[in-house]
Every structure is written in structure tokens, then in C-alpha cells.
Amino acid sequence: MLKDITLGQYFPGNTLAHRLDPRTKLMMVVLYIVALFCAKGFLSYGLMALFLLLCVRISKVGFRALVRGMKPLILILIFTAVLNMFYTPGRAIASFWVFTLTVEGVWAAVFMVIRIALLIMGTFLMTYTTSPIALTDAIENLLGPLKRLRVPVHELAMMMSIALRFIPTLIEEADKIMSAQKARGADFETGNLLRRAKAMAPVLVPLFISAFRRADELATAMECRCYHGGEGRTKLHVLRYQKRDLFCLVTMALVMIGAVILGSLGY
């Protein structure tokens, strides 16, 4: 049952969206989000949606996979929509008790939902087409200038990639320990919340112990291979911008400028 958890799932592929430099994709997502928050009316939102649709088509990631990724966030979407509907001042349509439904509120809710949905799908598109390792590489590279301010960028990126690397390992381990305790009659499925929480102790204690053991072993193994942090360390896969990166970034920038202009004009 733990196997169903997917985090930052990456669908391997060989499309333009996959081959783009991860740094480009990261910057594009940032620009996209900025543009989204400048959009105001149907025209600007339509432009953003159209652009996302184009990217999805290029990446060959199924539209269904993107929508499925939104499922856990549906509650947040509904919550924001309802809040916007009732708490935006304007012409009232209906009101009961302290709630007043306004025309402006309904529009605000519609746009807010579109905005959040586009935002989520845009970022998901990036994680679907970029392997977690490439992504941490990109983050490390883009945050590089912060090294001058003594921010341990390399160490942070290393921690991130180690954490990502060990998620599947720990899930597998937890699965195994749960089976072993079930074989001794442990019961994780029945009883109230308190009983179930208590029942998790036989899983969590061995899991933590093994996580610490693994961390210890990994540290030793890294030291044996003379790891000493980021200074002077070279990369196996050096990130290099290509022509296509420039092209995509410029396109994204143009779309953003378009959305900002449209938005400021109120469309």
C-alpha cells in the first residue's frame, strides 16, 4: 500500500521538453508564475492556458497525468473558490446570514481557480519531464552566486539529492518491516486513531534505526571516496545552454510580457 505513494514522479522521454536544460525549465516556470499573477482577464488567462497546452503537447505527457496530479489539491481549490466568492465586496446576488455572494466574487473565484490550476500544472509539467537529480543540479547551479554570501549551496543540493534518492529505499524498507510485524500478528488496519498510531511503533522504531544506520554507512562510504564538499568538485554531466534553451526562454519571456501588458490593460 505504501508503493502507491509517488513523489515528484518523472516520466522519462526524449521530447524537446525533456531535453531542455533543467535550468531553463526552472527559469521558465518562475517566469510563468510571475506572468500568471499579472494576468487579469480572459485574454491574458487564455494566453497562459494556450501556452501551457502547447508545452504539454510538446512534452507528450498525457493531459490525464497532469489532472490526476491535481487531485490531492482539490480541497484547497474549493476552499479558495468559496472564500473568494463570499468575501469579495461588490454587487450582491444573494445573501444569507453573514455571507454575501457577489458578482465580482464569482468572477474572482473563477479566475483564482484557473490561476491555481495553471500554476500547479505548469510546475508539475516541469517535475514530470525533469529527473530529480537534474533538478537539484539546476538549483545548485542557479543558486551558485549565493556561495559568495557563504550560503552552503552545494551542501544543500547534496542533501536534497540524497533525500530524494532515499525516498524509494525507505518506502521499500517500511513495507518490509510492516510485513514482518504483520507476520507476528500486528494489526495496522483496525481500531481507532489512537490504537492505529500506537500500532505504528513496531514499524517506526526499526525504520528510524535503519535510516540512521544507512546515513552512517553512506557517510563512511562518501568519506572513503574522499568527498569533502563542493570546493573544486567537477561534474559528470556539465550543464550547457543550447540554442533551444535560448529560444524557449525568449518565447516564455514574450508570453510573459504579453500577459503583463494584457493584464495591465485589464483584459
Partner: protein, 288 residues
Amino acid sequence: MEPILTVENLTHTYSAGTPFERSAIRGIDFAVGPGEFVGVIGHTGSGKSTFIQHLNGLLKPTAGRVCFRGQDIWTSPRITHETRFHVGLVFQYPEYQLFEETVYQDVAFGPKNMGLAQEEIDRRVREAAGFVGLREEWLDKSPFELSGGQKRRVAIAGVLAMEPEVLILDEPTAGLDPAGCESILAELRQYHRAKGNTVLLVSHSMEEVACHAGRIVVLDNARIVMDGTPREVFSRAKELEAIGLGVPEITRVAMRLHEAGLAVDPATYTLEALRTQLLSLRGGRGPC
């Protein structure tokens, strides 16, 4: 003899309906009687771990049935749960599942889940500890203070304390030194003799299985390919080698001697038996 555990046409498919679909076992038929000592042997990925996890209801069959004493173990959740007390399963590297503050409490985890009375739990814990050679004074220690081999004994005792009618062990000697292996296997054999319960020993070492089991089941590529006494199985040395399992070293020596023209049974699999045969060849004159 009425079989205690039967498996009919058992099939298990992982990730069914996705591109990662993979059958770990296909159409397995198997039955084991009370008091048998069976060796289950197969390569990594042959499906043996998947197979044994079906026997106590940890995995639900994609197709087929698993019956304990003639009753399908998936009839109701209660029966599935109870089957786990009748069919004890010791996982690979079981020392990583210890969690209690003391060895005693950890061994008592299974019996406590069975809802037994305090005195009965106490009796079982002490008896199980005795079987695996845990000393009395270790019972109050933290399991994390013990050595690797001792931890594994604690974990095995944790399953023995449930007094399962069928005991399944998945590679109980993995990662131990030869002396540690030998002593754990000897303890198991003693337990089997004393209790007369069914034991399934999963292993990839032919030697280990040859010396202890009265019956050997060979799994390869998701199916049972051989099932018989060690003599029967080891006489098919060519097929075993084709699977990549091979025969015990003693059998290999016996086969060579047989090929060299000596009157030695090529399916001999214990040192003792080979010795007797060789001595009789010398006309009973005894070792030189």
C-alpha cells in the same frame, strides 16, 4: 497423510494493469504435510519470497487458493489474521524488525498479539529463547546491545514463541559466518525434532538444504520445476546446473568418482554417506 498447507494454482502479478506488470509466480501447486522439513531453493528473482509470503496471507493471490487445514485463508479477514499465528514466517535479515526495549518484550510481541494469558506468554517466551540458545540474562537486555547473530536469534525466537504449526524461514543464515550458520541450522533441526512441526527452509545454498531437508522444492522462473527427496533432486544435476543452481560439493565429488568408474552413487549428498561408501569400497579396512 493429510496435508496441513495446500496451494492450488497460485499466481501473483505485481503492478497488474500498468506497464510494469510482472508475474512473480505462475500456477504453483504445492502441499506440505505435518512434520515435514522442506527446503525451498531458487535464484534471486525466482519468486520464492513472493511464494512464501502467500503461505501466511501477507500477499493476496492474483489467482488460485491457499488453504490451511483445508480452509481457504482468505475466507474472512479474521481467518487471514489467525493464519499468521499458525504459519510463522521469519523474514530475511529479521534482526532489522526488533523494536522493543528488552529482548523479552520483543519475543513476547507475537504471543501478546494472539491474546494469550500472561503465564502462557511467559512460558512460550522462555521456551522459544531456549530453542535458539538465548541465555536467561539476555532477556532483560536491550536487543540493540546484542551482536548480529544474537539479534537474529531473538527475531527467530519471536516467531517460534507463537508456536506456529508451520514455520517458514527465509534465508535464516544470510550474512552469518560459517559457525553462526551451522549453529542456527542445528538449533532449527533440534526445534523440528522436539516439536515435530512443519518447517520450510528457504535458501540458495544447496549444501544447507541438502543436510537438513527431507524434501526439496526447486523454483525457477516463477514456477516449481522440481519437487522430491534430496536424492531425486540431486540426481538431476544437469538440469540444476542449467538453472544455475548446481549441486552440493559432496555430490559433485561423488559424480566425479562415479564417472571415474568407482561404484559410488552419483546422487550422494552428505559427507557421511560418501565416507561410508568409500570405506566399503576399500573392503571395510577402515581409514588409512
